[in-house]
């Protein structure tokens, strides 16, 4: 069968297992299969964003699959949420590397990966709270812990929304985005709630074929005035910068 890129072969049904697993002595358990499916799905979700433009349908389906697996694992009790501090990029790298797909069954039994994954999830939330300097954040403070796939949507949402701005505003985003779009960190550090509001603004703006600069100012400033979060103070400065650009152009 045609296999694209990923070295790991997948298990298809219980009856085929002996045939497909030449290197592994033990018959893989349902948990192992489920874990490998989860890993594969997460890699797919990440790969989504490195391609030209994410296919929303595919992303939704993969994310739903991930959610399904997570729910089942939670019910099983194999999903342990461990409250550890953020450990930086180490767990991110671990997730991306293909090593995770080739973990031996021994590691699985020891449950090594699971804490790593949950740590990763927590890392991301930690990043969210701290990293607001490069985004136009709004009044809403960091939400309750979100799932991995929710951030996938925000990333896509971000990208889709930007497509609706007029070209005169692209300078603003360039000043805000100082990371290369291909870095893995970029996938998870850039987004926050402000883009929901941005989307509402943009949806309204989409119907206006001609938008004066004043309108842009109003829509930009309204989210900013509502903020009271101390995290957003630096953002207000950023927002002034944006307003300056608008006025100049």
């Amino acid at each position: 069968m045609f296999v694209r890129g990923l070295k790991r072969k997948c298990f298809d049904g219980e009856e085929d297992i002996e045939g497909t697993l030449a290197g592994i002595k033990a018959i893989p358990s349902y948990n192992l299969q489920r874990q490998s499916l989860l890993d594969m799905s997460l890699v797919k979700l990440q790969l989504c964003h490195m391609l030209v433009e994410p296919n929303l349908c595919r992303s939704v389906l993969i994310a739903n699959t991930v959610r399904q697996i997570q729910e089942e694992m939670t019910q099983d009790g194999t999903w342990q949420m461990i409250n550890t501090q953020s450990t930086g990029q180490a767990s991110l790298d671990r997730l991306v590397s293909t090593d995770i797909l080739c973990r031996s069954s021994r590691e699985q039994a020891e449950g090594k990966h699971v804490p790593g994954y949950s740590t990763f999830n927590k890392d991301f939330e930690g990043d969210q709270a701290q990293d607001s300097s490069e985004t136009m954040s709004t009044a809403s403070s960091v939400q309750a812990p979100r799932n991995l796939q929710s951030n996938v949507w925000e990333m896509e949402n971000t990208q889709e929304n930007k497509g609706n701005f007029q070209k005169s505003l692209d300078q603003i985003f360039e000043t805000l985005e100082n990371k290369s779009p291909n870095s893995v960190e970029d996938l998870f550090s850039e987004v926050d709630n402000s883009y929901y509001d941005l989307d509402t603004m943009l949806t309204g703006m989409m119907s206006n074929t001609k938008m004066g600069h004043c309108d842009g100012l109003e829509t930009f400033s309204s989210p900013a005035t509502a903020t009271s979060n101390s995290n957003c103070k630096s953002d207000l400065n950023e927002l002034d910068h944006i307003v300056e650009i608008l006025v100049e152009s």
Binding site: M1, F2, V3, R4, L6, R8, K9, C10, F11, D12, G13, E15, D16, R34, L37, M40, K44, V52, E53, N55, L56, C57, R58, V60, L61, A63, N64, T65, R67, Q68, I69, R146, N147, S150, W153, E154, E156, N157, Q159, E160, N161, K162, G163, N164, F165, K167, L169, D170, F173, P181, Y196, D199, T203, M206, T209
Partner: protein, 420 residues
């Protein structure tokens, strides 16, 4: 030649349009039957080729908008010219295809090569004469419907009123008037306020063939919603909801993905609709919402291979399906350049292959069979030998006759009934 991304017959079946990944549209025309050989059927030859969409660059996202033609829909013919709608991910265009077989000669104010004549040299008036010329087919864009879709357009459908049409992307459906390009009405919006909550997208949409107020849209969760535009301006609440209850014994992590509907087509009669999900085709009676009236297995042997198909992304392939003119048969594609046809009355089905080796001109296609297990018989092909790169996603059936068009990657095959 580029990968064909859509195939569509016009209302009379005389014209067949294909769109490809490179943004080109190629239209084939059926030749008039030769009187001296009454038994030879008309062949399809190239009638017109034009570049419909060009790649665009979205500066804000630093992403290219693909020029691939996602769908073509013909308008009913009202005069000598032909009109079709073609769309890529973001922009829909109305094209006029017209013939020119005469040209005027003998103008007063200009020469034959178009240069203006010196007024002093004009001493007499003459009436220009129309002279025949080689047939020229011109395609010109008449309307461009842009900037109305944030997400990728997956469907367009012309209304039976012949004045409006809908365009659907992953989360929204817009209603357009063919004459108006700067405005469209949003009639369905399933985008959640919080994108975190997004779990379902729109996969296809179509207007009812006779009732201009009715349309359906399918989702990635295997459901179909029928909406009546008379009930409210925003059709977020459906009039009918079609969903087959899940079989708990066949539940797996892939259940949702394979239930995602890739195509929905009303029957010509308007009484039924057909949906294509990954493994099957289902025929629904519009009066019965709780289950389809017929289910046809396209390639059930793939059910045990779903994990591999998920790994290589084939599980996300979007197959289309189509009815024949009398709604008695349906057709859909599969892998290995196989396509399947089902007779709804006799319940017989056939698997055929669209490939150069098996398609000598005028030769009859041999039925194919996939061996699902056990001993492989002669001429059968085993599941593991199937080529998953050769997928037939797009097929079309002539509206009146038994002529089918099958797109196999970058080749177009046209088959017809054998002549008795």
């Amino acid at each position: 030649a580029d990968i064909i991304s859509t195939v569509e017959f016009n209302y009379s079946g005389d014209l067949l349009a294909t769109g490809d990944k490179g943004g080109r549209v190629v239209i084939f025309q059926r030749e008039q039957e030769n009187k001296s050989r009454p038994h030879s059927r008309g062949e399809y030859n190239v009638y017109s080729t034009f570049q419909s969409h060009e790649p665009e660059f979205d500066y804000l996202k630093s992403l290219e908008i693909e020029e691939k033609i996602n769908k073509i829909r013909w308008l009913p013919q009202q005069n000598a010219a032909h009109f079709l709608l073609s769309t890529n991910d973001k922009t829909i265009k109305l094209w006029k295809i017209s013939e020119r077989d005469k040209r005027a000669e003998g103008y007063n104010l200009k020469d034959e090569d178009g240069r203006l004549r010196d007024p002093f040299r004009i001493t007499a008036l003459r009436v220009p004469i129309l002279k025949p010329m080689d047939l020229m087919v011109e395609a010109s864009p008449r309307r461009i419907f842009a900037n109305a879709h944030t997400y990728h357009i997956n469907s367009i459908s012309v209304n039976s009123d012949h004045e409006t049409y809908l365009s659907a992307d992953d989360l929204r459906i817009n209603l357009w008037h063919l004459e108006i390009t700067d405005r469209s009405f949003n009639i369905v919006d399933i985008k959640p306020a919080n994108m975190e909550e997004l779990t379902e997208v729109i996969t296809a949409a179509e207007f009812h063939p006779h009732h201009c107020n009715v349309f359906v849209y399918s989702s990635s969760k295997g459901t179909i919603r029928l909406c009546d535009m008379r009930s409210s301006a925003l059709c977020d609440r459906h009039s009918k909801f079609f969903e087959e209850p899940e079989d708990p014994s066949s539940r797996s992590f892939f259940s949702e993905i394979i239930s995602s509907i890739s195509d929905v087509q009303f029957s010509h009669s308007g009484r039924y609709m057909m949906t294509r999900d990954y493994l099957s085709v289902k025929v629904w009676d519009l009066n019965m919402e709780n289950r389809p009236v017929e289910t046809y297995q396209v390639h059930e042997y793939l059910r045990s291979k779903l994990c591999s198909l998920y790994e290589n992304d084939c599980i996300f392939d979007k197959f289309e399906c189509c009815w024949n003119g009398s709604d008695s048969a349906i057709m859909t594609g599969s892998y290995n350049n196989f396509f399947r046809m089902f007779d709804r009355n006799t319940r017989r089905d056939i698997t055929l292959e669209a490939s150069r080796e098996s398609s000598k001109p005028r030769a009859i296609l041999k039925p194919r069979k996939v061996c699902t297990g056990g001993k492989r018989k002669k001429d059968e092909i085993s599941v593991d030998s199937l080529d998953f790169n050769k997928k037939i996603l797009h097929t079309a059936w002539h509206p009146m006759e038994n002529i089918i068009a099958v797109a196999a990657t970058n080749n177009l095959y046209i088959f017809q009934d054998k002549i008795n």
